[in-house]
């Protein structure tokens, strides 16, 4: 197998698409569960917590891999404003990947809730019980979730712009495909 420096590594691509599915599921679960009184509320909230922690673990792994392996360069002819937007949006996405689960965890801690992942397995509280802290984190969790979804829409639009209109190899660098060697 040749090392392809124009592309993300297979591990990076696998982590990207796995997290893409998990985060989209997470956002849809979140927005659905807070707007329903039906039995699915309990099912969704039972998925939301362990899925959030799984995202946190994978996002930290992904950040570590990115740190070590880096990213392929953007095309040289990309307008600088687009290059800046790309780098900024990626930084925002990484920040949200890590911040959202931590805010959720902190929010449940400050709300005095047990943080049950499955069965009797629960996480420790990472913040003291405090109603004002809870309220602030709850608001942050909502606002950042909408921001997360909006950033993902922008990210998808940009990806499709690269894939369908510029056709400059940027999408190909992260695309899910067989490894050639």
């Amino acid at each position: 197998m040749t090392v392809d420096r124009d592309s993300f590594s297979p591990l990076q691509r696998a982590l990207h698409w796995l997290l893409a599915i998990m985060v989209l599921a997470m956002l849809f679960i979140g927005v659905t569960m807070v707007s329903t009184l039906k039995p699915r509320f309990l099912t969704l909230i039972a998925i939301h917590k362990p899925l959030g922690i799984a995202i946190l673990v994978l996002a930290l792994l992904r950040l570590g891999v990115r740190w070590k392996r880096g990213a392929p360069p953007l095309p040289g002819d990309l307008p600088s404003i687009q290059a800046v937007a790309a780098k900024l949006s990626h930084a925002v996405l990484y920040a949200l990947l890590i911040a959202m689960p931590l805010i959720g965890w902190g929010m449940l801690s400050a709300g005095g809730y047990p943080i049950v992942l499955f069965g009797s397995f629960h996480l420790p509280r990472i913040l003291p019980q405090d109603d004002q802290l809870y309220a602030a984190l709850r608001t942050a969790h909502i606002v950042l979730a909408y921001m997360f979804f909006a950033t993902i829409l922008l990210h998808v639009a940009a990806a499709l712009f690269h894939a369908l209109i510029r056709r400059d190899g940027v999408f190909h660098a992260i695309a899910w495909r067989r490894i050639r060697g």
């Binding site: 927005v31 569960m33 707007s35 309990l42 019980q129 369908l164 209109i165 400059d168």
Partner: protein
């Protein structure tokens, strides 16, 4: 296609093809946003959401800002649950193993106005949180009525709307509640209780019932459908409703403090094991009285504290917060309670400036 080809040597797109592709991208983004909006209920305003339910609960007089949106007037208590171990064969819940476990609870009346007169509290309630050293919790909210008034969240919403205060008169429309009960025959057992049960001037002489069914899970993984009650150890003292009116706005809290000054109050946790034909999903129906009952232990209430700065204030008594060994049944009220309590908790924690924590003493805060 190899990596090299994808990055170079493209056949240029015609301007109409570029336009088409921009539309395609726009369509994908629009569809994504639309799906998200649908999931969040913004496209279906008739959906009964926690926000709508809690808004209806918040509109029953007084100023509920900073307070629970139902059972809005209450006091905190602390004590212990003294488990005798007898129910352990039905559930592996750690607080059922013989021993003593810390309890933070709340006694309340089922009103929407935190300044309501105690005599308006037809339904009295007890909430408990029992914690075990391994970090597990059992939270339960129980009422003194033998059955719940409705079996599903939609009916609860309609009943709540029927109790909403009309801004013109400052009171709910009495015909609205009558209409509700006339059109909801399943609410008759509750209505019968509400009309005929004795009034008392105390929280201490009441039994508090889980109403919803739950599942206990034993060490072999078997499920047992159950309901439970905190049974008072003091016989109820009937007081005429007219006499309650002369007892002041906060007689329940005064009574509780007076009793606790004499010593702890106790209740027995009685677990009822369902028979095969007993409904798991209808809290308006009582189970027949001749079911197996197990006395699981004694709740000992030692101290009461005003809610404003008391230990129960910031606890959401969500009845679906359960230890291993207790699980929800298919009763549709349970997920609705969980979702609505969470909404109420989110609101009141954000409004805490409206409910000062200033140290207060029983009966002196109004």
């Amino acid at each position: 296609m190899s990596e090299q080809q994808s990055a170079t040597r493209q056949i240029p797109l015609s301007s109409s093809a570029v336009l088409l592709r921009f539309f395609l991208i726009g369509g994908v983004i629009f569809a994504g946003a639309l799906a998200f909006a649908y999931a969040g209920g913004w496209l279906t305003p008739q959906r009964l959401t926690p926000a709508r339910m809690v808004a209806a609960l918040s509109d029953r007089g007084g100023n509920p800002l900073g307070h629970r949106r139902n059972h809005s007037k209450g006091v905190c208590f602390t004590g212990t649950f003294n488990a005798n171990g007898a129910i352990s064969r039905f559930s592996v819940a750690p607080m059922f193993a013989a021993g003593r476990y810390a309890v933070v609870g709340r006694l309340a009346i089922a009103v929407g106005n935190p300044d309501a007169l105690d005599l308006t509290g037809r339904v009295k309630s007890m909430a408990i949180r029992i914690s075990t050293p391994d970090g597990q919790e059992w939270r339960s909210g129980m009422n003194n009525s033998p059955v719940f008034v409705v079996s599903n969240p939609r009916d609860f919403y309609e009943l709540t709307r029927a109790q909403d205060v009309d801004p013109a008169t400052g009171k709910p429309d009495p015909a609205a509640a009558k209409r509700f009960f006339a059109t909801h025959p399943q609410s008759a057992p509750f209505a019968q209780w509400a009309q005929t049960a004795d009034w008392t001037a105390s929280w201490a002489d009441q039994d508090y019932n889980s109403l919803n069914a739950f599942r206990f899970i034993d060490a072999d993984g078997n499920n047992h459908l159950v309901r439970w009650s905190m049974k008072a150890t003091i016989p109820p003292t009937s007081v005429a409703h007219d006499a309650l009116a002369k007892m002041g706005p906060n007689f329940l809290e005064h009574d509780l403090n007076a009793r606790l000054a004499q010593g702890p109050l106790t209740w027995h946790l009685i677990v009822t094991i369902a028979a095969a034909e007993d409904p798991s999903n209808d809290a308006t129906k009582a189970w027949p009285s001749r079911r197996q009952e197990v006395d699981a232990g004694t709740l000992i209430v030692e101290n009461a504290e005003a809610e404003a700065d008391g230990p129960c204030r910031d606890i959401n008594y969500d009845p679906t917060i359960l230890p291993l060994g207790i699980a929800v049944s298919d009763d549709p009220l349970l997920p609705a309670r969980s979702a609505a309590y969470a909404r109420s908790f989110d609101l009141r924690t954000a409004e805490s400036a409206n409910y000062p924590r200033a140290a207060s003493h029983a009966g002196e805060r109004r």
